[in-house]
Amino acid sequence: MSPWATIKVAIKALLRNKLRSLLTVLGIVIGVAAVIAMVAIGQGARNRVKGVFEAMGTNLLVVSPASQNTGGVRGGGGTASTLTFSDIDFIRNEASAVRWVAPQLQTKVQAAGDDQNWNTQVTGTTPEYFQIRSWAATSGQLFDDAADAGGAKVAVVGNTIVQQLYGGANPVGQTVRLGNVPFTIVGVLAVKGQSPMGQDYDDVIIIPSRTFRAKLQGGLGNFLRGSIYVSAVSADATALAESQVTEVLRAHHKLKDDEEDDFRVRNLAEFAEAQSQSTDTITTLLAAIAAVSLLVGGIGVMNIMLVSVVERTREIGIRMAVGARPIDLMVQFLAEALVLAALGGLIGLGVGALAASTLATKFGWAVVFPSDVAALAVLVSGGIGVTFGLYPAVKASRLDPITALRFEA
C-alpha cells in the first residue's frame, strides 16, 4: 500500500470514531500548545530582561570611587574622590578588552524652557557615552568630541524633557537653562523607557563633560566626581575587561598589594547574563511542566489505540483474511497514531501561537513566538505518536487471523 493510501485508510478509521479521535487529539493539542506558550512567554521574559540591560549599556562595566575612610569613619560607596580624568585615558590605552570608555558626571538641576521648568538629572559626558549606551538621536544630532573639548554649551535631551518643557514639540535649536546657564538643544535622544528599578531613562539632559565641570561642578580639576562607564569589546570579554580595568587603576593609583581597591568595578554585563540565565531556567522549568502534559497526551494516544485494537479485532481478522500482512496492519495502526499525534501537534501549534499572542497583547508582554521550539514540538508530537502507537500496532500485527475472525466484540 502506498503511504498516501495508508494515511487515507487511517483517517477513515479515525473518522469512524469522531468524538474519541477528537478527545485524543485534544490531549496532544494541550500538550503542544502548553509547551509553545510557555516557551514563548519565557523567551519574551528573557528578551525583556535583555532589553532592560541593553538600555543600560552594551557589555557594560561601571567604575565608581570606593568609600572614603577618614580616621575609621567610612563614608560609603562613591564618597571618595579617587577617580581622575587621567584614569579614563589609562583605561582606554592600556586595557585591551575595552572598546569605549566615558565619564558619567551627574547632578540634579532645575531646567527651564520657554515657559516651563522641570527638575531633572543632568549628565556630563563625552560622545563615547552614546556608543556605550547605544543611544541615538531621533531628531537633531549628538554632540561630538570637538564640542566636548571646546566646552560648548550644547545639550541633548531625553523624551521626558521634550514632553515636560516643550509639550512634545521638537526642541532642537531651543535654549534650555540649567541653573542659570543657557544651553542650546542640538538633539533629542531615542526613547529608552524605564530602568529595572523604575527610573525614567528619558528624564535626562546630556551635556559635554567639560562644560559640565566648568559650569555645574565649578572647576576643571583632574578629580572625577562621578563614575566611569566602560564597554568591553564583546559580551565574552567583560570579565577580562573587568580585571584589566582593575589592574590599570591599581597601577596608576599606586596601590600596594595589601591595599584595598580605592574604586569599585561593577560588571553589569555579568549581572545581565545572570538575569538571563535565571529567566532561561524558569523557561526550561515551564517547558518541562508543559512537556509532562504532552507526555500525558501521548499516553492518551496509546490508551485509545489499545482500545481500538481490541475493538477492531474482527476488522483486523478480515483484513488479514483478504491479504493484509502483519506489517500492513502494524503500519496502519501506527499511521492512525501518527495522524492523531501530528494533527494534535499542528492544532496545538496554532493554539499555542494564539495563546502567546493573546498574552502578548493583553498583558503587553514581549512574547516571542519560538519557531524552532514550534517545529520541535510538532516533531516531538509525531514522535510521540510513533512511540506510543508502536505497542498497540505491534499487538494488532501479531493477532492470529483465525482467532481475530472469530472474535466477538
Partner: protein, 257 residues
Amino acid sequence: MVAAAAIAPPAPAIGAASAPVIEIEDVTRVYHLGDVDVHALRGVSLRVERGESIAIMGASGSGKSTLMNLIGCLDRPTSGTYRLAGKDVSRLSASELARVRGERIGFVFQNFNLLARTSAVENVELPLLYAGVGGHERRTRAIAALEQVGLGSRLDHTPNQLSGGQQQRVAIARALVSQPEIVLADEPTGNLDSRTSVEVMAMMQALVAKGITVVLVTHEPDIAQYAARVLTLKDGKVVSDTRHEPVRAVLEPEVAS
C-alpha cells in the same frame, strides 16, 4: 431482487491437465492447549481439481474448521504438506501466507465479515488495496464485481443498510474481485433464510461454472448437495468422499412479491 442470472455465462474451465488446485498429503494439526494436545486433524489427504465444487461436512469437532483454515492459508499444518496450485504453502511465514491469501483465495463467511460503516464498494476494494492495485483500477474492478453479484446500484450502501442476502453478495464480490483460484465459503448460508440461501448457492455455482474452485464448509446436507463432491470428516479423519450430480440452485418464482 436481481437473480443469479446476472452472473456472467460459464467460461471454459481452465486447463484440467495442470496441477490440482488443492493437494493435501497426510496433514495433521495439533493444538497445544495447556498440557493437553488436541489432535484436530489426524492425517487428511485431499486432491481438488480446478473448477471442482466440494462441500466439507462434519459435526462440530470433526476438524472441518481446521481443514478449512489450512486450505484458506490462515493456518499451517503441524505435519504433512499442502500444495496450492502446485506451490507448497505448508511452511510459509505469516506474511507469505497473507500474500497467498490475497492472490489466490477468496473468503465468504457465515457472518459476512464486512467492515462496518464502510461502503460496499470499499469493502470489495479491500483485497485489491493489499495487493497493491492502484486507486482507479481498484474502484473499477470493485464496481464490476458488485455488478456481477447484482449490487451495481448499491455501491455506497454500508452493511447496516443492506439485507443479510445483500451483505453476503457483497462478501462474494469481495471474494472474487481479486480473481482467486479458490473461493472458500464457511457456512455461507448459516445466517440466511432459505430463499436467500438458494440465491447465494446459485451464485456459488456460477463461480464454479467460471472455473473457480469452490470449497464449501457446512453441516447442512441441504447446502452440501449443491456441490458436486462431498467430503465428510469425523474425529479429524476423512470418513467419506463422494461425487454426485449437484442439485441446481434455482429460485422458485416468488409468490405475490
